[in-house]
Symmetry: C2
């Protein structure tokens, strides 16, 4: 079978040259009882970059290192499971054309209810992350909600959910195309392109009374100006720090003092601490997507060979919405 | 009357040369109805440095600028109030030998229940700050509690209160004398001198399982190593950033990423948001001090002329406990 592996732990920026494609071993007797799948979709997520860095503990299985992220596959061999040949299942899997896993680590997805990209994106872990952050923030109608990475898989959903809670929603996104999409297609009240030379001034102008809640996906370079625009006793939901994943050097926060001066609560959260809410979130999100109440977009790549460059493009902020590779 | 004023807004480190003593105007007819007091005690607090910096909005009354902090005075002229000559009252007042204020801005203190330094310190705003932070942290018995500025007016009380909640308490303080006092007199389980060359290693060794709660009084240079020693889902009560007050340049936080990676909630708090709890806190703290359940120490200076140097010494971390000037 074909597999994409990480050729080496990376110190600086991750590039497509850090990956290699190989023919790796197919099923053997040790796969007995496991579910054999043919990979159809691979989810490309910023957090994967964290595990590609130097200094990450090594399980002793590389280089080259297998890469494990969320995938959807079609069941070819049900093994000892209740799955049936042709079922589509979602779970953590390798960047490979095939996979063998424990049935308990897989979940059947209903492709009649939503397409595969929705199961990995808006109704998957990206959507759940947005749903959870908005829920934990305890939004009140009329509050001002800011989200960075507003055109991304998480930010685009978070902003729409905040809008439905009655908030005024301002996005931050990289590039005019993204900013336009967020306002015109998703209904945000405003979206500021952080590549504008007058970004800080434009952001301040879009928040005349300051922000009640900030939903952070990017990191220190976005946070520093944002901290100065929070209302007193504002809340910052810390979801991701994409900028810090792609840079080996930690990005320092210069405006830290504002956290005390404005009494801004910083609340990091993780879906892994709230797995009991996952199916509630999934059902709500699938229903909303079906009813047309939530919109999403994907940046899709075709072919396993193109996964490394698609992954790097995602890290660099290219493309809109959820990044997916269709490989089957 | 004699008064200490700020000669100029300060850009770098605040020094005693930034202050000047002057003979200023005494009472006039415009003082009619105000309470006239003779200042007996001045509270020296880090937050006052914030208002001495360049860039602070100017009310149009300087230079030189009057300095207003917490003081205790003896009532000389009750004016239109219910106070009686000889009562001792606490309120915001000038660094001056006398003062005239509205009765509504003053509170009578009972010197039979506790001495003046306790009313300004452990049973005053310093103690209330410690009490509030410990209360908001929601301590559970057996948790590990770390406090920086452990020998200071707030940290020394916070650590004792955490100890009474059943926590294991580790302090961080500047110098061996402070660290010894915190362990021997206050009963902390450990206290690490941050001036030790091996500070980070010693702190890590004192926290084998990591910290559940960190109570921060100092700022980024303490916080950076501490963030790496927090347990997952730890809580950081952000009380003060003394280091940032004394430096004109904000101190950057380098280890910000750890906040997300360990899911550490950052919770700034201020006594001004919880004034409804002030008298409860005060009564509890006075009772504890009277019963010998809480200990405190003061660094006391005598004479109004010596207030500037005592204030600078406090900012530089010299002296133990609450800093007070006795001026009456």
């Amino acid at each position: 079978m074909q597999e994409i592996l990480l050729a080496r732990r990376v110190d600086g920026q991750i590039t497509a040259a850090d990956f290699e494609a190989r023919e790796t071993a197919g099923p053997s007797e040790s796969h007995d009882g496991l579910v054999g799948t043919r990979t159809t979709h691979i989810s490309l997520d910023p957090y994967l970059a964290l595990r590609m860095r130097k200094g990450i503990p090594d399980a002793g299985n590389g280089p080259p290192y297998p890469i494990v992220g969320r995938t959807i596959g079609e069941v070819m061999e049900p093994g000892a499971s209740d799955f049936r040949r042709g079922d589509h299942v979602l779970g953590f899997g390798r960047w490979a054309s095939e996979d063998w896993r424990l049935a308990a680590d897989l979940r059947k997805v209903d492709l009649d209810a939503a397409p595969p990209e929705a199961h990995l994106g808006i109704a998957g872990h990206s959507g759940f992350t947005a749903w959870l952050g908005v829920r934990l923030a305890g939004l009140r109608s009329g509050e001002c909600f800011v989200v960075s990475g507003a055109a991304g898989a998480v930010g685009s959903v978070a902003g729409q959910l905040a809008k439905r809670s009655g908030c005024r929603v301002v996005g931050i996104a990289g590039g005019r195309e993204k900013a336009s999409w967020v306002v015109e297609a998703l209904g945000f009240d405003a979206c500021i392109d952080h590549r504008r030379p007058d970004f800080a001034e434009a952001l301040a102008a879009s928040l005349p009374g300051g922000a009640d809640i900030h939903f952070e996906n990017v990191g220190a370079a976005m946070l520093d100006p944002m901290l100065g625009l929070m209302k007193r006793r504002g809340r910052m939901m810390l979801c991701g720090l994409m900028q810090h994943y792609q840079n080996a050097d930690p990005v320092a926060l210069r405006n830290f003092r504002a956290i005390l001066e404005r009494s801004i609560r910083i609340e990091p959260f993780s879906i892994y601490d709230h797995e009991e809410l996952a199916s509630t979130a999934r059902n709500e999100l699938i229903a909303e997507v079906g009813a047309g109440g939530l919109r999403f977009k994907c940046s899709t790549t075709h072919g396993l060979d193109h996964v490394p460059e698609a992954f790097v493009a995602m890290l660099e902020g290219r493309g809109i919405g959820k990044h997916i590779a269709v490989v089957g």
